[in-house]
């Protein structure tokens, strides 16, 4: 449904934009109808940028994004946003603090749907119920009178009212309590199964990605280092970065112990131009890594990794 092709985004900084920061570096992957793809990476890896690019909040430097085999910039805003919607990380900043919660729905009807009032508000109540909210707890309230979980669910309900076919969920549960997290995740899962919603689930938490997604894409400094079926990536990680992430997940029944030598970041050599981006942190680095082009190679069916040492 969504296809990214060699997507690159360079943010320009400095005086008159002479310096560039490569946020997303030639990324390609696709998301099928009714599929949840989790995009995992540490902060600064470019995962949020990809979400914004798909939502057309920023323009790509090069590369293309296709929605239903048409380039997204060829859609009219109205047409596009009726199909592709997003929910953002911070539920409190997603609402304008000076307006009531109703406003986000009013905007939707005024600009996207243009339905008769009674029909529209009927739909709103219906979708609020479907995400487990009582419309009376939501409508007519100010954002600060509601909890983060309620606000986040309201935002999902907003996407449902619009009838979106694809949802960018950018770290939507990182600001929520542990108890509400699973509820929101389950809502996403239910939506995938009931209406075939495609979801790009951006997260830095591997365990959440594992819980919900069908496909996992792992990013490091703007590039995809490993991707494929969630089961395969988690069972048989190939890239050293993926291995490190999996090691680093704090799990129940595992206590802290002094970090092992191999995962310490070597200072001073963090910026290495050319070759493998992970070179300076990689415990297995060799000279071949310096010439590595970063291309993905197939590990098994539906599982790719970008490591120079794979197969050697």
């Amino acid at each position: 449904m969504i296809r990214l092709e060699n997507l690159t985004k360079i943010y320009s900084t400095g005086v008159v934009g002479r310096r560039g920061i490569v946020a997303v570096d030639s990324v390609s992957f696709k998301i099928k109808i009714g599929e949840i793809v989790s995009l995992v990476g540490e902060s600064g890896s470019g995962k949020t940028t990809i979400g914004k690019l798909i939502l057309r909040l920023i323009k790509p430097t090069s590369g293309k994004i296709y929605f239903l085999d048409r380039e997204i910039s060829s859609y009219k805003p109205l047409e596009y946003y009726r199909n592709v919607q997003g929910v953002f990380q911070d539920p409190f900043s997603s609402f304008n603090p000076i307006y009531k919660v109703d406003r986000i729905f009013e905007n939707v009807n005024r600009y996207l749907l243009n339905l008769p009032r009674s029909e529209f508000w009927g739909k709103v109540e219906e979708s609020l119920k479907s995400v487990g909210l009582n419309p009376r707890d939501v409508l007519g309230k100010y954002p600060h009178q509601m909890s983060g979980g309620q606000l986040q669910r309201t935002l999902i309900a907003r996407a449902l009212v619009i009838g979106a076919k694809f949802l960018v969920a950018d770290e939507i549960i990182s600001m929520l309590d542990a108890s509400t997290r699973v509820d929101v995740l389950n809502i996403l899962g239910d939506l995938r199964d009931s209406i075939g919603l495609g979801i790009l689930f951006v997260t830095h938490d591997l365990s959440l990605g594992y819980y919900i997604s069908d496909t996992t894409v792992i990013m490091y400094r703007g590039s995809v280092v490993e991707m494929g079926d969630t089961e395969k990536v988690f069972k048989n990680p190939v890239h050293p970065y993926t291995k490190m992430l999996l090691e680093a997940v704090p799990t129940f029944k595992k206590k802290w112990e002094p970090s092992k030598e191999m995962f310490k970041i070597e200072s001073g050599s963090l910026i290495f131009r050319g070759g493998c981006k992970y070179y300076s942190r990689c415990p297995f680095r060799r000279d071949v890594c310096k010439e590595f082009d970063g291309n993905l190679s197939e590990v098994e069916e539906n599982h790719w990794a970008a490591c120079a040492l794979f197969g050697r």
């Binding site: 005086v15 939502l55 946003y81 997003g86 953002f88 905007n107 600009y111």
Partner: protein
């Protein structure tokens, strides 16, 4: 009423804030004196109007015996020319407040527009506008004011406040720009954009209302700043060539050795009023800060 206050809790916190209310009472009193001043001065100088047969009061008219201390005739005495100090004070207050409103308003308006456009549009526009702002910032304002004021053969209160307004905006522009930048990257703006809301509606419907309180505070600071700048100009002799102002009074008093001659009634009132107005404005500002910023609210 209670329901209404609950909804607009900022107004509630504003009205219950001692600093805001205290400062505001003083400012309003000063504004009232400035408005009703000529009438008050009439009350004081009735005898003069009757004797001379004129109808209008002129603050520069020499109407009394020079060097006379405060009395029932001249509430604040006369200066060394025989001008009535109270009447001068009343008219001076008028022009000072006018300069505050026009100069401060102009500086706020320009700063707002420049900051807003530069913050929202970004890119080349932002670079250019910020370059202009920074140039304006590093030029010593007082020197520019002196040069401009010196070139004008006739200077009224209006011209003076426009000059001050045209040079006072850079700080506002920078502050508004950073405020816009931070609001622009909030998620509710993104959410409006993916609801296909038109850009102009986003600016005026989503971003601008969030800045109202901030703009109000900026205006209050600019108001005080303009009054001070005008006093500075007046004091070095580049004030209005006609009429009077608080700064002009101070300049004259110093020029004619009011301190050495022990004429406290000439030099203390204008100085005290300027200080009190600016202090009250800053008090109002801190009060507003507490009302608008929930973290600073007194519990």
């Amino acid at each position: 009423m209670k329901e209404w206050l609950k909804k607009h809790d900022t107004i509630y916190f504003m009205l219950t804030n001692k600093r805001f209310v205290g400062g505001m009472i003083f400012i309003v009193a000063m504004v009232l004196i400035a408005i009703l001043g000529p009438w008050l001065a009439r009350l004081e100088l009735n005898w003069y109007l009757e004797e001379s047969g004129t109808k209008n009061l002129d603050p520069t008219a020499n109407i009394g015996i020079p060097y006379s201390p405060p009395s029932s005739r001249h509430w604040l005495g006369t200066n060394s020319f025989g001008q009535d100090v109270f009447m001068q004070l009343v008219f001076g207050l008028r022009s000072s407040l006018l300069i505050g409103i026009i100069g401060g308003g102009l500086a706020t308006l320009i700063g707002l527009i420049v900051g807003f456009v530069s913050g929202y549009s970004g890119g080349m526009m932002d670079e250019l506008l910020m370059m202009l702002t920074n140039i304006m910032l590093v030029i010593p304002t007082m020197a520019v004011l002196i040069i401009i004021a010196a070139y004008l053969p006739y200077r009224g209160v209006l011209i003076e406040s426009i000059i001050i307004g045209l040079t006072g905006w850079p700080w506002t522009a920078r502050a508004v720009r950073s405020e816009t930048l931070s609001l622009k990257s909030r998620d509710f703006v993104h959410l409006a954009r993916i609801s296909a809301v038109k850009p102009l509606r986003i600016i005026f419907g989503e971003i601008a209302p969030n800045m109202l309180s901030y703009v109000f505070m900026v205006f209050i600071l600019q108001f005080g700043g303009s009054i001070l700048a005008a006093v500075g100009l007046d004091f070095i002799g580049l004030g209005p060539t006609r009429g009077t102002s608080l700064g002009l009074m101070l300049q004259q008093a110093v020029l004619w050795n009011a301190i050495q001659l022990g004429m406290w009634w000439w030099i203390i009132p204008p100085g005290a009023i300027i200080t009190a107005i600016v202090a009250a404005l800053y008090t109002v500002n801190t009060g507003l800060d507490e009302a608008f910023n929930p973290k600073l609210r007194e519990m």
